[in-house]
């Protein structure tokens, strides 16, 4: 990819009232070579069609009133984005609150596009009895789907295990339609699963922090151009963001960077999501 081509890739990072991750997400996207504009929700939606793809970042749109993300889905800007995705296959990355918006908008899982087929329900309560269902910590993800199945994870090999932070109170992927889960498995739409540092996927509170069905942390639509994920890859896009106490390669790398600013700016594991988005944008505009 030429630098010129990369510089021409433009995504709109949609900012709702209550979004709070737009600037760090913009920085992560720009580090991957994507031009990223913060696009306020109350601008003319027609301006959205000029962009090659979209990001909906984390936060608490509309203060999470009623349910996380649901008020935002009713905005005309989401209808326009839906049209652009459906008609032109533009890529969309929804992170945390963005994932909640995509699910409530019927873009994810998208088995019947436009229908709400899942929920991001409140996390299961901590079984140790602590009050408080908002979970904010580092977890590990396994890239589950086949190479290239999801355009937004195309730069990761299947089985790739990476650390990433979560911060949500309503992040439990669930559905009352068991057939939908079977279909997601059959379609290879489950992109990320919560796992331990060795890649073991188990439904325990330590590994599956919110009690999600099938340990699901991220799902793509059947076409693979829309990804909804609860963890925050933008907060793991630079080595400096990683906690030194991480075990394995990334913890070792972080510890080795002490005092070295250039090394701190090296890509973290989450950068691959934005690298994948860049490649998806290139495909989309070609």
């Amino acid at each position: 990819m030429s630098e010129q081509a990369a510089a021409q890739l433009r995504v709109a990072l949609i900012q709702f009232p209550g979004s709070n991750c737009e600037w760090e997400t913009k920085r992560a996207a720009e580090a991957a070579g994507i031009t990223c504009d913060v696009f306020r929700w109350n601008r003319d939606p027609a301006a959205l069609v000029e962009y090659d793809g979209y990001i909906i970042g984390g936060g608490f749109s509309y203060q999470d009133r009623i349910r996380s993300g649901v008020i935002a889905t009713k905005e005309p800007i989401v209808a326009t984005m839906f049209e652009q995705v459906s008609e032109f296959g533009k890529p969309v990355l929804g992170i945390c609150n963005g994932a909640q918006v995509l699910v409530e908008a019927g873009l994810i899982p998208g088995l019947n596009p436009g229908r709400v087929e899942m929920a991001l329900a409140p996390n299961y309560p901590d079984p140790r009895g602590r009050i408080g269902d908002f979970c904010c910590r580092w977890v590990y993800l396994k890239h589950k789907c086949a190479p290239g199945r999801c355009a937004l994870s195309s730069q990761m090999p299947t089985g790739y295990i990476w650390p990433v932070p979560i911060a949500h109170g309503e992040g439990r992927f669930t559905t009352r339609d068991r057939d939908a889960i079977e279909q997601l498995r059959a379609n290879d739409q489950i992109v990320f699963q919560y796992c331990d540092e060795n890649g073991q996927v188990a439904d325990t509170p330590e590994i599956n922090p919110n009690g999600a069905m099938d340990n699901i942390a991220g799902i793509c639509n059947p076409e693979g151009n829309v990804l909804a994920m609860m963890p925050h890859p933008e907060r793991a896009s630079f080595v400096r963001q990683l906690p030194a106490e991480l075990s394995g390669q990334w913890g070792t790398q972080k510890q080795a960077t002490w005092g070295d600013d250039a090394a701190m700016r090296q890509p973290g594991p989450g950068r691959l999501v934005f690298d994948s988005l860049r490649e998806a944008l290139l495909v989309s505009v070609c």
Binding site: I66, I71, V116, A119
Partner: protein
Amino acid sequence: MQTIELLVNLKIPDVTALTAASAIRRRLGYEEALKELRRSDYYSLDLNVGKLDAARTLAQELAEKTNLFVNPNKHSYAICSPEEHNGGPASVDGLWRVEVLVTDAEGAQAPEIEQALTERLGYADQVAAVRQGILWTMLLAADSADEARSIAESITVTTARDEGLLVNPHFQAWEII
């Protein structure tokens, strides 16, 4: 055993209800139909008392003394019995009042509150069970009770981006009470 209900409301304007009403009117097309929308925290208490009056007295004590249900600085509350609901749309001044109770689909039990009441606050003999949810009260313009019920259902159940708002049926349950 008596079952009694505690409805807790904000004294200040409820921005969640206002936002919901705005979205329902402006985005879902119920500008004319939805006249008012109110939201209450709903608690249903199974109390080990013989008579309804005793249940009301105990519920009042729980509301005012435990600090679990009501913060008097910001909340008001009302006590009622399940029989006081209409089970469907009720005609009020030419409009229809519909009450929609939303609970978690996996159960409305409130174990933390039950535990606090029975294990820490000394109500083990008096409180048998606590359930919780959100009660939405709608005032609707409609030609009939059936139409009002239909509108309430459409407003409530989210089936698509532009259909429904108050409930995601994949993890929530609802009923008109």
